[in-house]
Symmetry: C2
Subunit: 169 residues, 2 copies
DNA sequence: AGGAGTATTCAGAAGATTGTGAATCGGGCG
DNA sequence: CGCCCGATTCACAATCTTCTGAATACTCCT
């Protein structure tokens, strides 16, 4: 029998894999989203996910390198605990930003190497510009949301939007 | 020997796969970014990419379903031509928005099913809120950029950022 | 220092994904 | 109406990723 509350986590993990994250890291990350406040040990994770310790080891290595989770090494205890980084969501965004910039550069090159097709080249440059805009704005978006959350009375971006069912689907 | 100007396209395609897009669609899409203004035929694509017609067929099916490219069926010519959708970049964004909403819903569920861990649950809700914020803002971001591009004199978002080397990498 | 438990690493198996080749379908032209 | 060319589909093969199991290294307690 599975542990309670794994269904939503598995669903969420599946979505993360759809955006490019490897499966096991995604599953570990979502399991940690439902962890007790002390976090989970590697053994806990292996048990809950039904995988080997090796799989957990590789997953947490990935997640730590991406700054998405923290390893909590408490002195006097060999058991490491893990939990989500406070800014894990922001990390998910900023991780993509440099990639967008590089992608924009490639698109510019594609366009420049195609002088015979002005319209096509213009479109490629347009996409490149947009990606650069994204790369610049997405980290700002994270900052703006954080600011809006810390000062909900302000006119800043409302964290809960308008309370409508944006979660549908 | 390869066709000219494929290097940047392959690089760009590799980056798209890193964000979750299957390889062949990514390669086709970036090849189309460097296409002549009339677009490429399926045979052109197969030749340039060094793959079979079947692979191209599957790729364009995927890309058309994602609204990332257009199939140009000219009457009197069985050869379909393809080119990027005018709003392909916007499509890449809006395609992710509903996924973020759903992911947010799962995170809320994860948090709600974990009442014993208030801090952890709060963090999960926080991520969910941020993802909802993203789902709401990202389409707006595309709209804002488009507006700023159509009216560059305005104070709107500058397409070319500040001219700094954001393309480095 | 010795012992025990934990994390990590590595080679290999299992699984999924991806692309090919051949047959089929479909539309247009002679 | 029949031929022809292009697109599509399907089963299979190659490739890559992913996870396991066993061996190794490391850390803390006695």
């Amino acid at each position: 029998m599975n542990h309670p509350g794994t269904e939503a986590a598995e669903q969420a993990a599946a979505m993360l894999t759809a955006v490019g994250m490897p499966r096991m890291p995604a599953r570990v990350m979502m399991a940690l989203a439902g962890s007790p406040d002390e976090g989970y040990t590697a053994a806990d994770l292996a048990d809950r996910l039904g995988v080997s310790a090796a799989a957990v080891s590789g997953a947490v290595r990935y997640l730590v390198s991406m700054r998405l989770i923290h390893r909590l090494s408490r002195p006097g205890d060999r058991r490491d605990r893990y939990d989500l980084a406070e800014d894990s969501w922001s990390g998910m965004i900023t991780a993509n930003a440099p990639l967008y910039s590089t992608l924009a550069a490639s698109l510019d090159r594609i366009a420049d190497e195609n002088p015979a097709a002005p319209a096509s080249a213009a479109r490629a440059h347009e996409i490149a510009d947009f990606l650069r805009y994204l790369a610049e704005r997405m980290p700002q978006l994270a900052a703006e949301w954080r600011a809006g959350r810390d000062a909900p009375g302000d006119e800043g971006p409302g964290p809960r939007a308008d309370g409508e069912g944006a979660a549908g689907g």
